[in-house]
């Protein structure tokens, strides 16, 4: 009696194709859903870590000729680049200066709504000045990471 069936070569080929198909589905799922979730979590964790590392402290405050000067230091791990300053009345023109580098900053730095000014990054142990072109005791700065930091002298 002759038995009907498939040959060994065909069996191996079918099994091989089935296994490739299953692995393809798994890998495709892994690279689309899982990887995007993982990467978004990693990205979020890194941004949060950088935000936590940006610590701005107010050292001294004064107003002169309608300009508010906030003397600040960064005691965090990450540099702070100010890209906008908001007062309770809305956005304000500002500049950031390092008096140790620019002692004559009051005459040389110019105000802008978006440019950091004379010295871009608040970092290291120096005391920086954030000058705001209006009289206010409270500002909120927005950093390059989109991190809002409130600075109040009141």
């Amino acid at each position: 009696m002759r038995k009907k069936g498939i040959s060994e070569t065909l069996e191996v080929t079918i099994l091989f194709l089935i296994s490739i198909a299953i692995v393809s589905v798994v890998v495709a799922y892994f690279f689309t859903n899982q990887s995007s979730v993982s990467y978004s979590y990693i990205q979020q964790a890194r941004v949060q870590a950088e935000e936590a590392g940006q610590i701005i402290n107010l050292v001294y405050y004064q107003t002169q000729n309608g300009v508010s000067y906030f003397y600040v230091t960064n005691s965090g791990d990450y540099p702070v680049i100010v890209i906008a300053v908001y007062t309770p009345n809305g956005p304000a023109q500002f500049y950031v200066a390092d008096p140790a580098v620019n002692p004559n900053y009051q005459n040389t730095c110019s105000f802008s709504y978006s440019s950091p000014g004379c010295d871009t990054a608040i970092t290291g142990s120096d005391v920086f000045v954030i000058a705001v072109s209006t009289q206010t005791t409270t500002i909120t700065i927005r950093t390059q990471l989109g991190n809002p930091i409130a600075i109040g002298a009141g």
């Binding site: 890194r46 870590a49 936590a52 590392g53 610590i55 965090g76």
Partner: protein, 136 residues
């Protein structure tokens, strides 16, 4: 036939190992980011706690001659900058010279040297804590 089945098993094993390596790589990435985040939160908490507990007092009352300060905090404090404000509101920032930065151990007194006559004197520490030693 047994030899072919062995080859198929080896193929499955290789694919399984490939997937495991991918999985471990992703896990390592996630754990690294998670660790960095926790380290930063811990660092931030330490800095803010240190700021709250920093207490520096002025010992010498004549700032024109010699400014002596004492650390009354329960931990060493490093002074990185001194700000002086004169009667006209002019601010001068000293970050180098005058022995700065200087670390003061708990209970000890350190001389920061002579500063121009100032109405206000503010010291800044490495953790960002600032203290007004003398008010106008």
């Amino acid at each position: 036939m047994k030899e072919k089945k062995g080859q198929i098993s080896a193929l499955f094993m290789l694919l399984f190992m490939f997937l495991m390596v991918l999985l471990i790589a992703f896990e390592v990435n996630i754990l690294t980011a998670d660790h960095e985040l926790h380290m930063q939160y811990e660092f931030r908490a330490q800095v803010l706690t240190s700021q709250r507990n920093t207490e520096i007092t002025l010992v010498t009352q004549n700032p024109g001659a010699d400014v002596k300060v004492q650390n009354n905090s329960p931990f060493p404090v490093t002074i990185t900058a001194v700000l002086t404000v004169d009667d006209y509101g002019n601010v001068k920032i000293y970050t180098h010279g005058h022995g700065l930065p200087v670390t003061i151990y708990p209970g000890l007194t350190v001389s920061l040297g002579g500063f121009p006559q100032a109405c206000e004197i503010i010291v800044v520490t490495s953790t960002g804590a600032s203290q007004i030693l003398k008010n106008c």
